[in-house]
């Protein structure tokens, strides 16, 4: 497809983060303690199951981070050389392209999950000119049904059945590949490998992965098949498919959860180590800075900073070429602001740990040998702090995802144009007061957020148990 790629700041950072993780994993392979710690994560069933779920979310999020701008069809009278018109101002992502039907099949307004008619009665003009109050049929949801009253239930059940069958097939193929991989790496026959995996014997907790994948497929299979004909989670006020909105929210949550810690990590690490190792007035100054930041109630500091950032963005419209770029700048700024309030905890932790480390014999020996401070810090202190940094990175994730929802509710979160769990919940506030209640977009947002946060919490626990020397 002929498109112009767009690199938003958060995309670049997100893929940069992936590259960093890849690099760290490659380096960790060579260090025995790191390998042992990661093996402990891999052996924990909860850790592997939650990691599987997180990776699935990550795939959706990364797909949604490949942005591009399509070319518009050329104007009829324009002189074109390569058969394409001007580039569109609308920024789309790979996920948009994959879920094209979900994005484009927009109804008039609310419709319930799997419905074939709108949620509220409207006046319809009939063929013979008379008017009638009725639930109008949806433009797309269940449009293939000839007699919806009779066929609807059967059609839905049939699709669920088909979805389950497809899910079972896909799962079998995937499980086969996985077990074959295990069999080849251990040089045992397929049957033996299957029994070993299924009994959870030795090696990584593949059984947990398979069970988790099975559960996810059982859910995703029917949803995927149903989504071809219906709006599985209904539609929102302007008729957008809620399932599509929830999928789009995942990227926002991932960006907030990971980039926030990432962008402020250098500050926390450098200042924490400096305060702990150098002591004296440097320590006093750094402690003063983080006490000041800490003493301002988090939400208020974020609110103040976001309000100010909003003014900056509003008064400089010329900085941003498209609406997506502006929303992205705001998302990144929100990450920075959230990070501003959250780096202090890690900084204090690292300072305390450095204070302990600098008194240890090997650091003192290095100092006695005349090794430079910079070298001591990078060779002897920093590597021994990395487990704390890693634990902080995974522990903060779930809190940040939850915080985003609250901040967007308060009106100081992401750009109103950015789809996120927070904006979905915020939009759903009024819907609950309706009679009968519109509950689906709220439920969908909460459900996806719950699964994401739960997986993140469980994974963080597994990582902490494996890396924290005091935990065992």
């Amino acid at each position: 497809m002929d498109v112009q790629p767009v690199f938003l700041w958060t995309d670049v950072l997100l893929f940069g983060l992936m590259a960093c993780i890849g690099l760290a994993a490659w380096r960790a392979r060579r260090s025995e303690p790191m390998r042992a710690a990661w093996r402990r994560v891999g052996e924990s069933a909860v850790g592997m199951a939650s990691l599987t779920v997180l990776l699935l979310f990550l795939v959706v999020g990364l797909l949604d981070s490949l942005h591009y701008r399509p070319y518009l069809p050329p104007a009829p009278d324009a002189q074109v050389t390569n058969g394409r018109g001007p580039v569109s101002t609308e920024v789309r992502s790979a996920l948009d392209a994959l879920a094209e039907p979900l994005r484009t099949r927009v109804e008039k307004t609310y419709s319930a999950p799997l419905a074939y008619a709108l949620f509220a009665k409207q006046t319809i003009e009939k063929a013979d000119g008379t008017q009638q109050r009725a639930f109008p049929r949806l433009k797309f949801g269940g449009a293939g049904l000839q007699y919806p009253e009779e066929d609807h239930a059967g059609d839905v059940l049939g699709r669920i059945g088909l979805g389950l069958a497809l899910a079972a097939g896909a799962w079998c193929v995937l499980a086969g590949c996985l077990v074959q991989g295990v069999a080849m790496s251990r040089m045992v026959p397929f049957g033996a490998a299957w029994r070993a995996v299924w009994r959870g014997k030795g090696g990584l907790a593949w059984r947990a992965v398979l069970v988790t994948l099975g559960l996810v497929f059982l859910f995703a299979g029917p949803v995927a098949v149903l989504a071809g004909e219906y709006h599985v989670f209904g539609t929102d006020k302007v008729g957008q498919d809620v399932l599509f909105l929830t999928l789009k929210s995942i990227r926002t949550a991932l960006v907030i959860g990971t980039l926030t810690t990432l962008v402020t990590l250098p500050v926390a690490v450098v200042l924490g180590i400096m305060a702990g190792y150098l002591g004296g007035w440097v320590d006093d100054l750094i402690q003063y800075v983080y006490t000041v930041l800490n003493s301002i109630p988090g939400v208020l500091l974020i609110a103040a900073a976001v309000l100010m950032m909003q003014v900056v963005i509003d008064t400089h419209p010329q900085w941003f070429e498209t609406a997506a770029e502006r929303a992205d700048a705001r998302l990144l700024a929100l990450c920075l602001i959230l990070g501003m309030t959250s780096w202090t905890g890690l900084c204090r932790l690292l300072r305390g740990e450095t204070l302990k480390l600098r008194e240890l014999e090997y650091v003192q020996a290095a100092r006695a040998f005349g090794v430079s401070t910079a070298r001591i810090l990078s060779r002897h202190v920093l590597p021994n702090l990395m487990h704390l940094v890693l634990i902080a990175l995974v522990m903060d994730f779930s809190g940040l995802v939850l915080a985003e929802a609250v901040l967007s509710y308060v009106g100081i979160g992401v750009d109103p144009g950015t789809v996120s769990f927070g904006t979905m919940i915020n939009a759903a506030r009024m819907e609950l007061a309706r009679e009968p209640m519109v509950w689906w977009s709220l439920m969908a947002a909460f459900l996806f957020m719950f699964v994401l946060v739960l997986a993140a919490n469980l994974f963080a626990d597994a990582v902490r148990d494996a890396f924290d020397p005091r935990a065992s």
């Binding site: 000041v292 930041l293 500091l301 103040a304 308060v410 919940i425 919490n457």
Partner: protein, 346 residues
């Protein structure tokens, strides 16, 4: 210890000054008063005169940090920084030179002159009237929440290692993975809309208020259980594995007695010192639940100010919040010495 407290108290203004400098930088340097005027006035009515009038009305028509036009001390005091940031301090000893009594000055300043909100109402009065409802919801939530979570954690520790303990921890993790907004929205829907037990939101004076308070307090307690109970459980577990608890059991104490007499007492040290820091901040109220339940406290006041982009109110709340936090820190240090005789402050 007295010297320590004095030193901490002297450190407090320094931190508050830092907070003020930071908020000042955020509100006046990142965006000039012109920017704010332009945004508040809206695109249509922006003329140089209108901006100037807006600034004069709100006292933003002065230089930021240094007033070259004024002479002597006024060159520093007749500025936005002094007027809008430093005036919030109670500890303004500078004026004593003109012969006025410092104590009177402090007493009048103790009234915390926060200036006026953009709609012209006095912020200090507003804060005083809104403190009551905030406390009425925050204090019961705090006390009840502490009681419930400590009991739940103790229960888990009593059944430690069993299936019940495992289930309890799973429940905790699941509960802390649910968004706080869900508890509020779900609670309002179930209790008020389906069961019609209490009003969905609002506030009344006197005893009538309790009707409106039951649900927010209940939801506040439930929403807090997950995270805290799991944390308290690890604290109690660590304590329960120590030698003195084994000795207590060996000398014939029952498990319950050992838990309540030894584990609870010693486990409360880190818990108490952890929660003391939030006690002063209870005044600030809970932002989210107050706005959901329509309780006219400081939390909803702050939210309204944020939504209306009423900067003076946000600034004042930042100042009070940090002041309360610093008080909380000092109280935390004191509580260490009170509950743990091993700790000496000096």
């Amino acid at each position: 210890m007295f010297a320590y407290i004095v030193r901490r108290l002297l450190y407090a203004p320094l931190i508050l000054l830092g907070v003020n400098l930071l908020t000042f930088a955020l509100f006046f340097v990142v965006n000039t008063p012109e920017d704010m005027a332009r945004m508040q006035l809206g695109a249509k009515r922006v003329t140089p005169e209108a901006i100037e009038r807006w600034k004069v009305e709100r006292g933003y028509d002065k230089p930021l940090l240094f007033n070259g036009a004024a002479s002597g001390a006024a060159s520093l005091t007749d500025t936005i920084f002094f007027d809008k940031s430093l005036r919030m301090f109670a500890f303004d000893f500078g004026r004593a030179d003109d012969g006025r009594d410092i104590a009177t000055e402090i007493r009048t300043r103790m009234a915390f002159d926060f200036g006026r909100a953009d709609d012209g109402r006095d912020i200090a009065t507003e804060i005083r009237t809104r403190m009551g409802p905030s406390l009425a919801i925050a204090v019961p939530t705090f006390i009840l929440g502490l009681f419930v979570t400590v009991s739940f954690a103790l229960l888990l520790v009593f059944f430690r290692g069993s299936y019940l303990d495992f289930q309890g921890v799973v429940l905790c993790v699941a509960m802390m993975s649910i968004s706080g907004l869900f508890y509020i929205i779900g609670g309002q829907w179930l209790v008020s809309k389906v069961w019609h037990l209490v009003p969905i939101s609002g506030y009344g004076g006197g005893l009538d208020a309790s009707r409106f308070l039951v649900l927010p307090v209940l939801i506040g307690v439930i929403a807090g259980i997950g995270g805290s109970a799991r944390w308290y459980r690890t604290i109690f577990l660590e304590e329960a594995g120590k030698d003195y608890v084994r000795t207590a059991r060996a000398k014939g104490l029952s498990e319950l007695q050992a838990l309540f007499r030894h584990v609870l007492k010693n486990g409360m040290i880190p818990i108490l010192t952890g929660v003391v820091v939030v006690i002063p901040s209870l005044f600030m109220g809970s932002l989210i639940s107050e706005s959901f339940f329509g309780i006219p406290g400081l939390g909803s006041y702050t939210i309204d100010a944020i939504n209306a982009q009423d900067f003076p109110v946000v600034r004042a709340m930042v100042f009070i919040g940090s002041l309360l936090y610093i008080v909380g820190l000092i109280l935390t240090d004191l509580s260490y010495t009170l509950v743990d005789p091993r700790v000496r402050l000096d």
